[in-house]
Amino acid sequence: MHTDAAAAPSRLAHHFPDMKTQEHAARMGMWLFLSTEILLFAVLFTAYAVYRFLFPQGFDEASKLAHVAMGATNTVVLITSSLTVALAIHYARLGENRKVVGLLGVTILFGLTFMVLKGFEYHHHWVDGQLPGRLYHYAGLQGPGVSMYFTIYFLMTGLHGLHVLIGMSVLGWVAWRAGRGEFGPGYSTPVELSGLYWHLVDLIWIFLFPLLYLM
Amino acid sequence: MNLLNELLRKLLFLPAQASQWARELDYLHYFVFVTSMLGAWTTLATATIFVFRYQRKHAQQTTPIVDPKPIHEAVFIGLPLVLFLSYFAIGYPQYVRLQTPPKGAMDVYVQGKKWMWKFAYPGGPNSTDVLRVPAGRPVRLLLTSRDVIHSFYVPALRMKQDALPGRYTQTWFNADVPGRYPIFCAEYCGLGHSAMLGELVVMPAAEWDAWMEQQRRGSQLLAQDGRPVGIENEDLRGSLVEQGRRIAAVQGCFKCHTVDGTQHIGPTWLDLFGRSVKLEGGKTIVADEAYLTRSMMEPNAEVVAGYKDKAVMPTYQGKLAAPDAAAITEFIKSLRTDAPTAEPQKGPIYVPVTGK
């Protein structure tokens, strides 16, 4: 979507009557894409709901093995990164491209922090054998539904982590374009669309954190 | 009524009705069939009449704009809705009845496994592929599976229920016409899906009581002899060959080995016994009892030439008791092109039940 707008020097593709329509179309496309992401995660949320309902005790005990401190830190990190992205969009609309580069850079660093912390968590679970399904071999906690918690934990955080990585790459690309001074009052769609994506990643984590760490 | 029932049943190719529920389901079937056919043909006949009535007279003929009045759309919505909801209003209570077994129904445990049905009756007796029930008494089935999903289906009872691995589903019936009715597996379960046939034998109640009494005595005797009883107990009857076939099916041998000569993941068993087999590495060996047994226990030790890349067979050391391995060997020995083959069955397999 962004590429269409960028391709023509005038940024107006031949088949659109005007810029306004073109950007409206781009944003609508992005929102529809976000809805597919929501439905993608919905599968895992459904599995979570069903298995938590069936194995409340197993999930309860297993979630105590999650590292709340790191999870909470990550929540703070992601929410703050959402703020920096929102500000980046604001300055992109004003054409202050250097601020955009700085804010997006900070966002990517936050994303990196998130992934590193996530990596530590994964490492701890790995060495303890708190792994999904048949890979689960942690002697400290056994019982129905326990390994299912870790199946869901790894699938949900893994898919979310993948989205963080994709988001970081897209933001990096947008920051590079901001560095070339491309954005201004007339054109800030790429910043806005990648920002929307990043906010969605944050939004999903807002649900994942209490569900996986605090229940 | 009875005549009409028979007429419609034959017209729709429906099998015999062996329970009251089946009969009532057929009445719904007839109702749905007749009303929806009337509706369909009325609509389609109207369309066809329009086609003949309103033929184009010249290429650029004009036609009036005809827009519907609200009453038209109300009829278009109202009529089918009433009809459809009446189907549901009749059908759903019937379904609820099937899902709610009456108190005092006899429990029979049904276990599906690739590719057979096992039945365990109250008090220990059990059977394979043949379910005997008393006519006129409600029977609740508690179904489960050993491997994948199977579905227990008796067309004569118009009744079907999936058997799920590791848990139970339930259904019930009250067969009231003595006779023999086929049982099918209706959920796809692999190679033997269409051969996973069983038989429901509905016996007059008194006859069934006598048969059950005999069964119970038999299983007590067996219990005294120290044989384990219960659903896991393989039936004792049948030749060693037949046992071997069953064990091979249960152990999943047929996932890779065929018995009709076609090559699959593993070598075919047809004409295998006594043949000179070329091994990976050039050695040649005669496939005797010893080799066959070794191949079950250490499958990757002596791989047949051409199967190196497919050497995926797990060891059956510890999974197969010595008599079972011997039975499979006997079964392989029986697979000869010049001998009557034990495999492809057409139609239901009628397996006799102990004590009858």
């Binding site: 269409d4 593709a13 031949h14 088949h15 179309a25 609508m28 496309g29 597919t36 993608l40 995660f41 919905a42 599968v43 459904t46 069903v50 197993g58 999904p132 890979l135 390994s147 299912m148 | 190719f13 079937h29 749905v32 369909a40 609509t43 109207t46 369309a47 329009f50 086609v51 309103y54 184009r56 650029q60 004009t62 036609t63 009036p64 827009d67 038209h72 759309e73 909801l85 549901f88 759903y92 379904y95 099937l98 994948v148 579905s151 289906y153 004569a156 799920l164 086929p182 597996c185 209706a186 796809y188 190679l191 033997g192 269409s194 996932k255 009709d260 699959h264 993941i265 492809p344 069955q345």
Partner: protein
């Protein structure tokens, strides 16, 4: 087909086919019409493959025991047939071909909103198709297209590649849908209000909503199965507390709406065909348009009617059962309105119209058997038998393929600027309809008798009807080959069609045949609804240029 009075030599004028030359210009094209033509080639190849497997299946079922293949080959073949027909033909065909080609023409736009993403969808289709088909043939996948766990996670055959392929095909389907929604919202020409949208566009819009919202669920579910099969994550593994019925819920949350992805575009196609063939505006335009949206919406909440005998709760079965009746209701509304459209029309019995009548007949019976199936208790007898097989083939072959053929014959002159032999077309249409009846009516009766589906061998009492079905299938196949033959012949030696051989007043006929690269010389301004035939030829001529 009568030659148009305003017929012009087809390929002398510049058009989208001859604007650029060479393979490269096709592979990198962003033109929606060329992308539509590429989809035509690709999906027809898929249809051919799936059809060959269907014929082999029917051949095997000629006799009760083994006929031409062993059980393993049979199981692999019905998996191939199902996956190929559904993911490579039914879902992408009408949206990919007619949707891409005609939505922009029908709303007066130069292209779809995101042409590059449109091209991407073709390549996603190609990539997914290759991975799925090669994966299935190499790995011998034998799970059936439903991939039910735990069978799919425990079978010795390879399953992961086909799951990955289906995931990629799903992505292609999503971006097609997304593109159409945005196109319809943002690119309508002046005067094309929502209440003047051609009904095909309405149907495609509703379809796209389903594609966008349902397909991700399938993608994720298939990935979960792959994770379980490859890494042992155990999310559906009964031995680890997993619930196989949960898989069925998630699978059908996509796959039931997917049925509407297949049939809604077909309903859109026949809405156009019947208006043009009867020279009549749609009776109850709003009812037909909104019932498409109604099907798209309610279609999401009926998936549980596939689970009546699976161990699903009685309560849930009731909810899903009653909701299913409402989906049937929307289809009934459409059927009545199509019938009423014929009233006072000026009907020309052309090949597209014959297919329309076939569609109407088959959809009525396919739909009503669907209603019968969702009356809950009757499904207990019919679930997983040939009755279900016959029911959905009535909808898929009798509905979607008849509509596809109707659309293909109706729009062929527009797409390629050539006319085909009307006599051959009528003969083939009759053959296809007869063959279809002979193939699938016996299957209803087999289902009533209790023959389960996916049966390699069967008891002997089922043989007579199976033989009838196989005979019908060969007739059907012969009909399809006939169509292929005369359509290809028309490309080589067909007469020039002229811009509007049907004298149709659908917006898409306002362009030359084949359309020029830019579709319209200037943005058209529409001042009347589609398919209004109340005024004389003078308006026609004015309207056509």
């Amino acid at each position: 087909m009568s030659p148009s009075p305003a017929s012009s030599p087809a390929y002398n004028t510049p058009n989208y086919l001859n604007a650029e030359k060479g393979v490269r210009s096709w592979l990198t094209t962003l033109d929606h019409k060329r992308i539509g033509v590429m989809y035509l080639g690709l999906t027809l190849f898929g249809f051919f493959l799936g059809g060959v497997f269907a014929l082999l299946l029917r051949l095997e079922l000629l006799t009760p025991g083994p006929t031409v293949m062993d059980a393993m080959a049979y199981n692999r073949m019905f998996t191939l047939h199902g996956v190929i027909m559904i993911f490579l033909f039914m879902i992408p065909a009408i949206p990919g071909i007619f949707g891409n080609f005609f939505i922009p023409l029908m709303i007066g736009a130069q292209d779809v909103a995101f042409p590059r993403i449109n091209l991407l969808s073709v390549y996603l289709y190609l990539l997914g198709a290759v991975i799925a088909v090669v994966g299935m043939i190499q790995g011998g996948t034998d799970t059936g297209w439903t991939f039910y766990t735990p069978y799919s996670t425990t079978t010795v055959t390879t399953v992961a590649p086909v799951l990955l392929g289906a995931f990629i095909l799903g992505m292609g389907s999503i971006v097609t849908g997304l593109n159409f929604i945005v196109t319809v919202h943002t690119m309508r020409a002046p005067g094309v209000t929502w209440m003047r949208l051609p009904l095909f566009v309405w149907a495609m819009y509703a379809t796209s909503v389903i594609q966008v919202l349902a397909t991700p669920v399938l993608g994720m579910t298939l990935l979960l199965v792959a994770f379980e099969k490859v890494f042992g994550f155990g999310i559906f593994d009964p031995a680890r507390g997993g619930d196989p019925i949960l898989f069925q819920h998630l699978f059908w949350f996509y796959s039931h709406p997917a049925v509407y992805i297949m049939i809604l575009p077909a309903m859109g196609v026949v809405s156009e065909v019947v208006q043009s063939a009867a020279r009549k505006n749609m009776f109850g335009y709003k009812a037909v348009a909104f019932s498409s949206l109604g099907i798209a919406f309610v279609g999401f909440f009926v998936w549980g009617h596939h689970l009546f005998t699976s161990g699903q709760s009685t309560f849930a079965s009731g909810v899903f059962g009653v909701l299913s009746m409402f989906v049937g209701l929307f289809t009934a509304i459409k059927v009545f309105n199509w019938t009423a459209t014929l009233y006072q029309g000026a009907i020309q019995v052309s090949a597209p119209f014959v297919y329309f009548m076939g569609f109407l007949y088959f959809l009525v019976f396919g739909g009503l058997t669907g209603i019968a199936l969702s009356s809950v208790s009757l499904d207990v007898h019919w679930q997983d038998t040939y009755f279900v097989v016959a029911h959905f083939h009535f909808i898929m072959v009798g509905g979607t393929i008849m509509a596809f053929l109707a659309g293909l014959h109706y729009w062929w002159p527009k797409m390629f600027g050539k006319t085909y032999s009307e006599r051959w077309a009528l003969a083939a249409a009759v053959l296809v309809i007869l063959g279809f009846n002979a193939t699938f009516i016996p299957q209803f009766l087999l289902g009533n008798m209790g023959m389960p589906r996916r049966y390699y061998s069967y008891p002997e009492q089922f043989q007579a009807l199976n033989v009838a079905s196989t005979a019908g299938a060969s007739l059907l196949a012969f009909g399809f080959f006939m169509i292929l033959f005369y359509l290809v012949a028309s490309l080589v030696r067909g007469k020039a069609a002229g811009p509007n051989p049907w004298f149709s007043r659908g917006y898409e006929w306002n362009t030359p045949s084949p359309p020029s690269l830019a579709n319209f010389p200037e943005t058209p301004v529409i001042d009347r609804g589609p398919h209004e035939y109340q005024d004389g030829p003078a308006a026609e001529v004015k309207h056509a240029h």
